[in-house]
Symmetry: C2
Subunit: 206 residues, 2 copies
């Protein structure tokens, strides 16, 4: 495996790709670094540096070829074998994420949902099997799930995390408000709505 890129670079590359995919829909084939920069509150220098980092050098007089750039970013970000994902907790947030993810990134395979509600388990929701949490460890192993999206109630966030890590999950997105402790080899990404909202609230005050 090659050396990993910095966290912030990966974030920006993912954002560029999202923008480029939308941009393609608008029917344009080329884009300049300064255009991409403007769309991300970024500088053209930064964009060019990020794109050089992934070894893409196909820039032309008309700018980058959008389709090629999307492919070049994909080569870096996506696992060619795909990666398996589970959503743990199918409440409103879990359901929103389920609908949202469907078909968005072919390299990320949503393989399983987990919940405690018997109304939800034992069937497919939006085409994805929903299992009872008691089967968590077994199903994570069965489906070779490496990434879990945690949308459980905060009371069970820690124990669920421990189960997931024990079963072999190596990446976690934490949507609960509970700060989680994970081993060093587990990548944890936390998202806290309140923090984002408080930041907005702070900066809009005059």
């Amino acid at each position: 495996m090659k050396k990993k890129l910095p966290r912030k670079t990966v974030e920006r590359l993912s954002e560029y790709r999202r923008t480029l995919i939308n941009y393609l829909d608008s029917g344009r084939d080329y884009i300049f670094s300064h255009e991409l920069a403007d769309m991300h509150n970024n500088t053209a220098v930064q964009v060019r540096r990020d794109i050089m980092l992934i070894g893409y050098s196909g820039v032309q007089r008309r700018g980058y070829k959008v389709k090629e750039l999307i492919r070049a970013i994909g080569k870096v970000l996506d696992d060619p074998r795909g990666q398996n994902v589970a959503i743990v907790g199918v409440g409103h947030l879990g359901t929103a994420i389920l609908h949202y993810l469907k078909g968005k990134r072919p390299a990320l395979h949503l393989k399983a949902l987990f919940d405690i509600d018997k109304e939800k388990t034992g069937r497919e929701i939006n085409g994805i099997p929903c299992y009872p949490v008691e089967e968590l460890a077994a199903r994570v192993r069965e489906h070779k799930i490496g990434i879990a999206i945690l949308t459980v109630p905060m009371e069970v966030a820690r124990e669920t995390t421990a189960l997931l890590v024990e079963a072999g999950v190596r990446g976690l997105m934490n949507f609960t408000t509970v700060p989680l402790d994970v081993p060093e080899d587990v990548f944890l990404e936390e998202y806290d709505l309140i923090t984002s909202l408080e930041k907005v609230a702070y900066f809009v005050r005059i």
Copy 2:
């Protein structure tokens, strides 16, 4: 108005407060900077610097007094008059956020919901009035809403944003996948699930 703190500092202060509130529930009255640092993948020096920045100096031999520190952070982050918030788009994600926010931060008043679905509008959902989007401008002004949480379908993200800004909203949390353009005096916070997930996926690969 005093000079604004840096964006990252505000983020950290908000995270500290969240942790401290949970910590209080565990029945402990004091906390050391290194403990708070450990809970945030942070250093004790950074924690102390952040807390000094807000002018709090009540550190004792046993550490910071948790309740006082929560109050000191609130003095900086919260508007004493409160700030009014709306959720625009009451699908799964909007609903999740609605449930999530309820009662979490007394300084943030969730005043209105907006949707196009007539099943949802014209009544209260979880105690908050839900209005048809046609009334957006009028209701934003009526309720003096300064902050909007955008959870509409991507097709209408841009036009809805324009309406909100025109009506006086000065802070926006964008949960759609569409990058938004806002005037300079509008604070925009974007959250893209795919970016977070792709970052996790990238870093868990071996």
